[in-house]
Amino acid sequence: MPDATTGVAGPPLLEVDDVTMQFGGVTALDHISFEVRRGEILGLIGPNGAGKTTCFNVMTGVFQPTSGEVRLNGQKLVSRSRHQITRLGIARTFQNIRLFPEMTALENVQVGGDARHRTSVPGALLRLPRHRREERDGRTQAFELLDFMGIPHAANSLARNLPYGDQRRLEIARALATGPELLCLDEPAAGFNPAEKEELLALIRRIRDRGQTVLLIEHDMRLVMGVTDRIVVLEFGRKIADAAPAAVRADPKVVAAYLGVPEDAA
Amino acid sequence: ACSNNGNGTTTASGKCDSKIAFFGALTGPNANLGINIYNGAKLAVDQYNAKNSNCKVTLVQKDSQGDEKQAPALAQNLVQDPKVVGVVGPAFSGESEAADGILEQGNLPLITASATNPTLAQKGWKVFHRMLGNDASQGPAAASYIKDTVKAKKVFVIDDTTAYGKGLADQVKKSLGGMVGGTDTVQPKQTDFQATVAKVKASKADAIFYGGYYAEAGPFVKQLRAANVNAKFVSDDGVKDPGFVAGAGKASAEGSVVTCPCIPGDEAKGTFFADYKKKFGKEPGTYGPEAFDSANVFLDGIKAGKTSRAAMLSFVNSYDKDGVTKHIKFDKNGEIAKSEIVIWSYQIKGGEIVKDTEIKATS
């Protein structure tokens, strides 16, 4: 199995260690291991049903893997609760958008920001100074993130009424608000047209430039090849490649399993 | 109507606007019992108004549905209306527990024509009066009926957990002593008694005493007979109503016995029986005569110019006169004299409740 050979090497931020996930007879992940290094943009690709989303679900605590372990900064994640994992520094978006539809965009982002806040009922009832500070900072940060994602105009609209594309952006803003070290994006460009994909590509780079690590699932090869530093390829729950974009593109196994005709039209 | 008179105990201003109130169930599962009592009181008031057309008395009705939950609010209501100088009721013991304390705070005299729980007289309520014998008499009477007339060996005692049913069943148990071959409770509004029927069946008792009201007793007996339990069914004044036969069905109700510290309507003195029949087109039901007497005590008071509650209270306390059911005179707890207590037994025959014998009060 080709090992990663790319330049942007940092210490491993996230390690997926020999993870297996079975659903009844279906083995969605079959002894998968890979790592995400601090500061990189890692692509996760593979045919439909290869296990990419399942991999996210295991990392973020949605599923308990049948076996194996996931570590963030060396800390074990398996069997931790989901909100704890988020607070440890992983945030994600969803393949099928899952915003809080009846809350405004601003509130959606604020909820994300609250992951880093401590005060609870007593603080809110007594309006303790700490609570006031957190509220103020959370609000400011939420506005900043909406701005950063290019949807400041949406702040006071209910999420459900936003156009599809803005909803995808809002999801990313909300995930960023939790202050993650690792941001996991599940097909963020689905349903985007080429121009919008172009914007998204720039945006992902900017997120990385803010110091955050990005793990990206995407079927659009132009986007993946354009933005990632390294790519892990899954097929039938197994890892079939783990290399720099150029190497992956040329890998015959990947071509056969996933890309089809080398020159795709994306 | 919304002015708040801070002091309800003061005398009402006008002379001819006094009210007395009926307090009890006019609707709800055991409404028949309340309606009988209301009718008795109504007859008294109408007769009074016919004779005193220049100074009529209003009969206020407070329908509690026999539900303790509703009672406190209704009692407060009565207390807040200074024109009300006397209450006939509350009809049931349970609602009495809930309401009488409030009437007491309002110093509003009450005469119940039916609430039979003995402890009601022992709570130090000055306003409390009872026109009939209590369950400390009825319980032993029922027990002796079971022993002497039914000649049962083993009795299964059931109550409905109300102040009345439980209180009475406890008295019966005490009197039966070792003959009690099992006990169980049912809940008001229950319709499915399979579990209790199973217990009765397993106990092989030859008589059942049921303390409670007719709404539950009817279907209970029906299910009992359907399960081929043929023990003699003995119950109380709460079951002495055609509603029992309706609930149980003629066949199942047949032969059941109920006791009651009330006189049969046709045993009442004077023209009561005829008057009642004429006015309502049917014979007086359970406690009609007692209610008639209770209302008349207050009406006599009003006639005598007792239009404040305090005056009415002392009037009632010193009342000493014959009514249609008995000689009326209350002791310091508000009970009538021992010698005036009667307990009757009644039988269900061919779907009718017919009077059986007068049981001698033993306690």
């Binding site: 439909n48 099928n96 985007f192 047209n193 172009e198 090869m221 996933y258 089809g260 795709d264 039209a265 | -």
Partner: protein, 236 residues
Amino acid sequence: MLLELQDLVVSYGRIEALHGISLGIEQGEIVALIGANGAGKTTTMRAISGLRAAHRGKIFLEGRDITRMRADRRVVQGISQAPEGRGIFPGMTVMENLDLGCYTRRDAAMIAEDRERVFTLFPRLAERRKQLGGTMSGGEQQMLTIGRALMARPKILLLDEPSMGLAPMLIQQIFAIIKEINGQGTTVLLVEQNAQQALSLAHRAYVLETGSIVRSGTGEELLADPAVQEAYLGVA
């Protein structure tokens, strides 16, 4: 004209999503509808299939006015839609989902044949006959949606972003399939973000911009149109 929209207006509450669009589709054509996010493509599809009411305007199928016809009746009349996103029945198996596709059909033998055809197109569905639709992966659900729409043997097939969420190889396949069923006589209305491919496949196409049709023409014409190239083909 198999299907015709006349001056169609559709709104969501106070938001008017389509401002009076007119378009026509001839028997046997593949017509593509392209446009940016929120342009109103899905809304157009839903209006045709009857899931959204027309505020104003008319819809004709084979010359008959179906504007006020219920959605389920339109299926019987030969309109079948593969909805955008997750339009599968999550609690039913793959097999049951497919069977619902031919709810209005009664020709058992043909149905069996069509089912086999779908399984040949998407072997993954055949493997997972008994799996619940809701547990399939995103791309697998997309296959199921398309397969199910095919099961209806419609006169006109509405495909809303069929390539969304599919792996590159499968996208090629999907476009091949569209071509094939069109060859067998099914008319197709295709909504796609993947404008390049959609336009090369389509006989004719319309460009939708914020609720209005701004351009139309044959596939080649639009492919060659510089404005279209810039806005939708990512040719900078």
